[in-house]
Symmetry: C2
Subunit: 227 residues, 2 copies
């Protein structure tokens, strides 16, 4: 069963990990599913339980599976998507990194807002409106709204129905907020206003207006970040 990958010079645990990854890709195990126990996997793959344990650790290191102590091993929600998948935390010039991440957002997010205007369901629009209100409440209470902000942009990305961008946006946005101190933001009114404009344009399915509102929104952010 495992001969084919042996020539790559992989350890037995790596080969077993690749095999288990294939099972997940073939949807034999789906997102959220619990994997069979070590004994069953060892029997099926004809290797020792120690090798299974090691393979599972390798898969967990790449967030393909999640080990829940005492409960078992489960297929992760976003298999293969690690916390910092682009290795951004290894880039040393953080100011430059934030600037360039923001540039990438400006390239992607207006187009994504346009796609969201074309494809969002009424339920998705309702969710965006609810997040907008929650952000406005946090802003008025002088509380941090970073997390809700990421939620809003992720909801827009999801509504675009592009299957790649919903993975990308939270990575980029989280990285920016990790590396830059955003606590002293003075852009409260602009944030509230442009968020509303984006969601309103998506609601009335006006793609160009959604695109332009997102451009304004990110433009304000970029000016404010001074990057």
């Amino acid at each position: 069963m495992l001969e084919s990958s042996q020539q790559k010079g992989q350890s037995l645990a790596q080969q077993v990990a690749s095999k288990m990854e294939e099972f997940i890709k073939e949807q034999r195990y789906k997102v959220g599913d619990k994997l069979p126990n070590e004994f069953e996997l060892a029997t099926e793959l004809n290797v020792g339980r120690g090798t299974i344990r090691e393979a599972i650790k390798l898969l967990a290191a790449r967030n393909v599976v999640i080990i829940q102590r005492g409960k078992g091993t489960f297929v992760s929600e976003n298999p293969g998507l690690t916390e910092d998948p682009l290795g951004l935390s290894f880039i040393t010039d953080k100011k430059r990194l934030s600037h360039d991440l923001m540039d990438v957002r400006v390239m992607i997010e207006p187009e994504i807002a346009k796609l969201a205007a074309e494809h969002a369901t009424p339920a998705e629009v309702e969710e965006m409106e609810a997040i907008c209100l929650a952000i406005e409440k946090l802003i008025h209470e002088n509380k941090n709204h970073e997390e809700k902000d990421i939620q809003l942009h992720s909801a827009i990305a999801k509504a675009s129905k592009n299957v790649v961008v919903p993975s990308l946006i939270p990575i980029i946005q989280t990285a920016i907020s990790l590396f830059i101190n955003l606590t002293n933001r003075s852009l409260k009114e602009e944030t509230i206003e442009t968020h509303r404009q984006i969601v309103e344009a998506i609601k009335i399915k006006d793609g160009e207006a959604a695109k332009k509102a997102m451009q304004r929104h990110l433009g304000y952010n970029k000016d404010e970040l001074n990057i």
Copy 2:
């Protein structure tokens, strides 16, 4: 030394891996550097050699380090950047995935070509010209030019001086070529022509022309892929 991360419920090997990752982020070990041997690391971090071995395997699974048998362990070229960092291979609808990846390229690459026109060094332009010629040769010999194609787009991304995009472009482009059979491409003349236009515009530092040539280039590709 390792107490602080203990509360996260991480195994000792995971804690040691995090610590070693910090060393790399602090540039104590730089890209390409050889790590100290197991015995030295075990002494320094005050853990057993088995734990060091396990930690190194975890780091290798996320491409932070590369284990070269008989030579030692080295800091990887793009630490933390895994082969499929967005977990794209786990998306089951490959036709949809290719379409959406292409959409993301259309959002990013024209702007990147524009930035390349503004920031490319003469040496970088020379490299692009050489890759163009190599692609043309392969096309005329009816050979696969996929790899050289990725090289050209990566060179343009690098010349943009954006620190994020050079990680992103090859991932997206490789994913597209993995999932779609590109062997029957009829776009030979258009590819040669638009590649030349992009590089020429970058050479004369005409950002708008570079952007438009990249849009045309990706437009042809998208039509051809029929996605």
